[in-house]
């Protein structure tokens, strides 16, 4: 065992000293995962704010307060524009979801909803954006009623409004329908008296009385998709790192033979199995290390939050077993490093293509996903995703992990049997 460990440590040291190998093993997968994660994030537009343009013809402090209220929170991103035509154009081109027009006089009505009725606004929206339209209407209604809410929760403001309304009623005189003016003259002083008796200060006003009593019981929604694009791109990055390990150590094994060090190792009193076990151990450790590094990076930088760490560990270990076997098989494909490297990468690239290492499997048609089952890469991705966001149970993990271990054992056995120890051509 000590000899195996020494052999593996030697290989790790060689890898660390080889700058190109080191880059492709550790940095390339991180770049890959980050890059594609970013690209997919842009496309998915997951839970980002709805962008709208606002044309404010009123331009009063009240109208500005309305827009502020609308933009509060992270659901809407409001950009003020002067030019109505340009705003319409932005909607037509799909650059913003909608254009909101506040007419002249909006502010006055907004401030005095009881005296003058709720203000009118116009929302211009692409009819195909139904979901966003619904959400926008909800947000607008909320902001519009905000002024009413303000009044109800502030006795002083409510009192002032009642006084102003009474004064306006007096001014208007006979212009107002006597029936309505009579009713208002009865209602408003009564409201005034009520308001005067309302408690002042925090929690006062009608707010306490109006606050709805809602008990919130959280029920976690079943997730059937990745939380973010990085949960797709990081399993892929891990696969590329593992492919790199398999290719790298496969070539290193061929190199030992062509450089004569394999012969020297065989002359020493270690057994052939120890020599191969050393290489396998180095490949296994590096593979696990690459996966760990990527997951750590994804966790810290991109918020990848695996659903189950224990299952993820199992998935990584099984994937490493598979790739150790593949490494051993690659090492018998070519006599020279160049041949082994060329043939090896060709095979690995096809594996990656079929197995969803390049284009995520769920983007592919079903028949292609089925063909992908012959590729170990598919099972690696499947197992990793199962633990990260598919929410697999241990029983569900059994299939991909079992397939991976089987692939590893079979390819390793074939690779060891076919391995040629002499450098005879």
């Amino acid at each position: 065992m000590d000899a195996v460990l020494a052999l593996a440590l030697k290989d790790l040291r060689l890898l660390l000293r080889d700058r190109v190998g080191f880059f492709f093993t550790f940095f390339f997968p991180i770049l890959y995962a980050s890059f594609f994660g970013m690209i997919f994030s842009g496309q998915a537009g997951q839970r980002s704010a709805i962008r709208i343009h606002v044309v404010d013809h009123d331009a009063t402090p009240e109208s500005r307060r309305f827009v502020e209220r609308l933009a509060a929170g992270d659901r809407l991103e409001c950009a003020m524009v002067e030019n109505e035509a340009a705003a319409n154009d932005a909607v037509r081109r799909g650059r913003v979801a909608a254009c909101l027009v506040l007419p002249r006089g909006f502010g006055a009505r907004y401030a005095h909803p009881f005296a003058r009725g709720l203000p009118e606004i116009e929302l211009r929206i692409d009819p195909s954006r139904a979901a966003e339209s619904g959400m926008l209407q909800g947000l607008l209604a909320g902001a519009l009623f905000g002024s009413v809410q303000d009044l109800m929760t502030d006795p002083n403001a409510l009192g002032a409004m009642v006084d102003q309304s009474l004064a306006e009623l007096d001014q208007a005189g006979s212009q107002v329908d006597p029936l309505i003016s009579g009713a208002l003259r009865a209602f408003l002083p009564a409201l005034r008296a009520f308001v005067e008796r309302m408690p002042r200060g925090a929690g006062g006003g009608l707010a306490g009385a109006m606050e709805p009593k809602i008990t919130i019981t959280p029920i976690e929604r079943q997730r059937f998709g990745p939380r973010n694009a990085y949960e797709i791109s990081f399993p892929q990055g891990i696969v590329w790192g593992m492919l790199g390990c398999a290719a790298g150590f496969g070539i290193a094994l061929v190199q030992e033979r062509t450089r004569g060090t394999l012969m020297r190792l065989r002359i020493s009193p270690v057994s052939p199995y120890q020599i191969l076990a050393g290489k396998a151990l180095a490949c296994f450790l590096t593979t696990v290390l690459v996966a760990g590094l990527l997951l750590g990076f994804g966790y810290v930088v991109f918020g990848v939050r695996p659903g189950s760490w224990p299952l993820l560990s199992v998935a990584v270990l099984c994937a490493a077993v598979a790739f150790v076997g593949i490494m051993q098989l690659l090492s018998v494909l070519g006599r020279t490093e160049q041949a082994a490297g060329g043939i090896g990468w060709a095979i690995l690239t096809v594996m990656a293509m079929l197995g969803g290492g390049m284009v995520p499997l769920f983007f592919m048609p079903t028949w292609m996903q089925q063909i992908g089952s012959i590729s170990p890469v598919k099972w690696v991705v499947y197992a990793l995703e199962g633990a990260i966001w598919r929410g697999f149970s241990p029983a569900e993990m059994l299939l991909p992990c079992g397939v991976l271990v089987a692939i590893g054992v079979v390819t390793f056995a074939i690779g060891v049997r076919a391995f040629s120890w002499s450098d005879a051509r």
């Binding site: 030697k10 060689l14 450089r259 004569g260 012969m263 002359i267 020493s268």
Partner: protein, 280 residues
């Protein structure tokens, strides 16, 4: 201590080693001298258990070199350099010493001694990839001796080496022999064999043609010595088994001005044995 008993090894149609029988004695430096393709490296590979003979057997210290425990007592510096360019000289030597079972303080100590012996002390912390050809050869040797083998097998240890490194390697071998190490040394340079080896085995086309001390080989197969003498009467070139007798005979009749004696070399031995020169 190492014996070949009628060993034969063929690669398809090529018979690389053909009925080889020889015994290496403890403490000697045995040269395996032969032209390219004579079967030297194949013999070495048989000796260290990398190849199994088709016929006959190889014996070392009462066992077969195909057993790991037996191999532990051997050291080999392969003809093709077998070191890791990315590791430093020291790391190379320590790694192979560890493969031979050394650990801890003895590992470090003996590795350092081996490196010092081949004169790479000042470069030991640098990567082998930065070494010159001669330095790599010396490192190749150091990696074979750190575990202090009883039998050291050197396959063309001076191939592609500058005269300085070559002399250093010769001195190393002399020093190792002085410690009682048995050495097998393959080469196709007869000067090396003449200078270093206690006995020389001449091989060609997989066969052992002769095995003896250099003196014995020359006496048996070298043919006549050649005497060039200049006397008052003129020049004489005489081929003779006993040049001293010829010299005395000449001097009795004429006054000798000067003479030169050309003794037969291993080159002549090889020529007489095979009808070809070593470098054919």
């Amino acid at each position: 201590m190492l014996a070949f008993h009628n060993v034969r090894k063929a690669f398809r149609a090529t018979v690389a080693v053909d009925g080889l029988s020889l015994e290496v004695r403890r403490g000697e430096v045995l040269g395996l001298l032969g032209p390219n393709g004579a079967g030297k490296t194949t013999s070495v590979n048989l000796a260290v258990g990398l190849l199994a003979p088709d016929q006959g057997r190889v014996e070392f210290a009462g066992g077969s070199p195909q057993q790991a425990a037996v191999r532990r007592r051997m050291g080999v510096a392969p003809q093709s350099l077998a070191i890791y360019d990315e590791l430093t000289g020291e790391e190379n030597v320590q790694f192979f010493a560890r493969m031979h079972g050394l650990r801890g303080a003895p590992l470090r100590q003996r590795s350092a001694q081996a490196i010092a012996l081949v004169g790479l002390d000042d470069r030991r912390r640098q990567r082998a990839g930065t070494y010159s050809g001669g330095m790599k050869r010396r490192l190749n040797l150091a990696a074979a001796i750190a575990h202090e083998p009883e039998l050291l097998i050197l396959d063309e240890p001076t191939a592609g080496v500058d005269p300085q490194s070559r002399n250093a390697i010769f001195e190393n071998i002399v020093a190792l022999r002085a410690r009682g190490v048995t050495v097998i040394y393959t080469t196709h340079y007869m000067e090396e064999a003449e200078r270093l080896c206690d006995r020389v085995a001449i091989v060609d086309r997989g066969r052992l043609l002769a095995l003896d001390t250099v003196r014995g080989l020359v006496a048996a197969h070298g043919g006549h010595s050649r005497l060039h003498a200049v006397t008052e009467r003129g020049e004489h070139t005489i081929e003779a088994d006993d040049p001293v007798a010829e010299l005395n005979r000449l001097q009795a009749s004429e006054r000798l001005l000067r003479f030169e004696l050309e003794r037969p070399s291993l080159e002549a031995v090889f020529l007489n044995l095979t009808g070809r020169t070593l470098r054919d």
